[in-house]
Symmetry: C2
């Protein structure tokens, strides 16, 4: 990566460091614990606490529970938010995986970015005519177009069944801050379940943010030419999550890169640093048919890929991935019980 951006960044940093000494104290990565003191919790935090506690309490004792996070987080650039930095993620991985976890007998808490893909709904987001594109008027009544009728019936039936059986709970977020508060809250509720709970952290979390107190109050004006944004690194929340929030749960994190050479070293590094169970590594351009499972007990990653035929038959890689993860999760539960 020899881009100019890198060079500029280094130059601007060294120059600023020499001059703007008063800002230096803000430049190191902040402590994950202090993050929650400095930021405002989302409006749905108390609701989520109540609903998740109730949901967990109502599950049969033998049923495993998965927290599936999905979609990208946003980082506001202004307090009166007009602009924000967004992380690319439609929520395909998370929404497809949630369906497979349900089919595998899990109770699923789906923590997703508002307006990103949801389980069962995910097939109905690509019509250029929107929702109405799936519908028609026949004999004065609104009906589903024939080409969608069968699939929509199946998806709606499953969606209703899982919701009515209390097997699926959906909680939404928008900003990085919303996500982190909700992740901690739900984790702490799952912690007492120990190995029975899985955390499947598929959401694309921002790496950089602008702390509230140095954020512009109003819309940034463009009259003065260029804009230089200095963003702080987001603290690595996987550390307190693994170490303090849910130390006995089964934790799966993701690593998405565009440069294939960085993938394995970064996956290994995460495992060593945080000490959780699995890193699923994938590349932006092949993520729909190839993923690698990294663990601390296996010297080589476990490659999972689907064929062209699978893709043509609308079979998702998440089908195989979740079956494999559920198997490993069962082993983890058994091993924990033997201790």
């Amino acid at each position: 990566m020899s881009s100019k951006l890198t060079v500029d960044r280094a130059q601007s940093e060294s120059v600023q460091e020499a001059v703007v000494s008063s800002i230096l104290s803000e430049r190191k990565v902040i402590d994950p614990d202090t993050y929650f003191d400095d930021n405002k919790p989302p409006a749905n935090l108390r609701w989520a606490n109540g609903r998740v506690s109730e949901f967990v309490a109502q599950q049969p004792k033998e049923r495993p529970i998965a927290l599936v996070t999905s979609g990208g987080t946003t980082v506001p650039l202004e307090n009166n938010t007009v602009r924000f930095v967004d992380n690319f993620s439609a929520g395909t991985r998370g929404s497809s995986s949630a369906e497979q976890f349900l089919a595998s007998g899990y109770a699923v808490i789906y923590l997703y970015r508002d307006q990103s893909l949801q389980p069962f709904n995910r097939h109905y987001s690509h019509n250029p005519d929107g929702v109405l594109g799936y519908l028609d008027i026949v004999d004065g009544k609104v009906v589903v177009k024939p080409e969608w009728a069968e699939q929509m019936h199946r998806d709606l039936e499953l969606f209703k069944r899982y919701k009515n059986a209390n097997q699926l709970l959906m909680v939404s977020f928008t900003t990085l801050s919303d996500y982190l508060f909700l992740l901690r809250e739900i984790s702490l509720i799952l912690a007492p379940l120990g190995p029975r709970a899985m955390l499947y952290l598929a959401a694309a979390v921002s790496d950089f943010f602008i702390p509230t107190h140095i954020m512009a109050e109003h819309k940034i004006q463009s009259g003065s030419g260029d804009l230089t944004l200095r963003m702080n690194q987001v603290p690595k929340f996987l550390r307190p999550l693994v170490k303090n929030w849910v130390p006995r749960c089964f934790i799966i994190s993701f690593k998405l890169e565009t440069d294939s050479e960085l993938l394995a070293p970064k996956a290994r590094h995460a495992l060593e640093k945080y000490g959780h169970q699995i890193v699923i590594a994938n590349l932006l351009h092949t993520r729909k048919w190839q993923v690698w499972l990294f663990t601390n007990s296996e010297p080589e990653p476990y490659l999972l890929q689907i064929s062209k035929e699978d893709i043509e038959n609308n079979r998702d890689i998440e089908h195989y991935l979740v079956v494999e993860l559920a198997r490993r999760h069962q082993e983890y539960i058994s091993n924990s019980n033997q201790l």
Copy 2:
């Protein structure tokens, strides 16, 4: 606006200017015309050209045509895009206005951000259960829930009628670059229509971007601490649009601010600078019930606002706004014919 960001920006700029002289040439606002030479056109540009030309040719001679732009543009931070800066806009103003223009007898070209609100579909995007939340299974068949049946029937009927009558054409974009290419292309097709064409530029266009050639190739790494992003100002495309692309059309631009003191001076400034017909000024937090119309012929802005009762009865401000604009557009057409 006494935020630290402003201070940092000034400091960092002055410091950088003294040191990083090689970058100076990139720091001035680029010429709108050269923008199109340096950036790649969107995949749907040729399709859009064909469809818009056909659409315009098929309209009855007396029918006015409105190009309605809607939704926010994104600015990629990396060439292999994982992150981007987004401008806040759900597309409420644009989608609601498009419906009103259709009701007022206009042919509408709706240039909108992919996944943002669309006319008639806009009422079906807020259900936490997604598309499936509007549907139910009764006697083994998928049907619209009773509470939505009437409205959905009305919206679907109107949507189908306008589409079948060739009165509504939808063209989508995602990035700033997509938007600018499509805006120019469609403008040039509308130009020969002169006063009969209105441009209603409600899209929230990014003010800053990172030129392709200095963009990072791969996902920006967070290991090295802070990130400093230097973004260039987007050239003001309203200038060539008014002056060169559609000099005889009726042009309406928008000014959205969060600071009320900036609103009037910025609206006046835009009118003086570009010389088009109307600036619609609005504040982020009151935009759904208050807008001000600024023109060069009136010393005071024309205030348009709706009542609490209107809002409770689901009446949009766009209803009154579009009626007022259509009236002014007719005057403009009449005056142009008398010349």
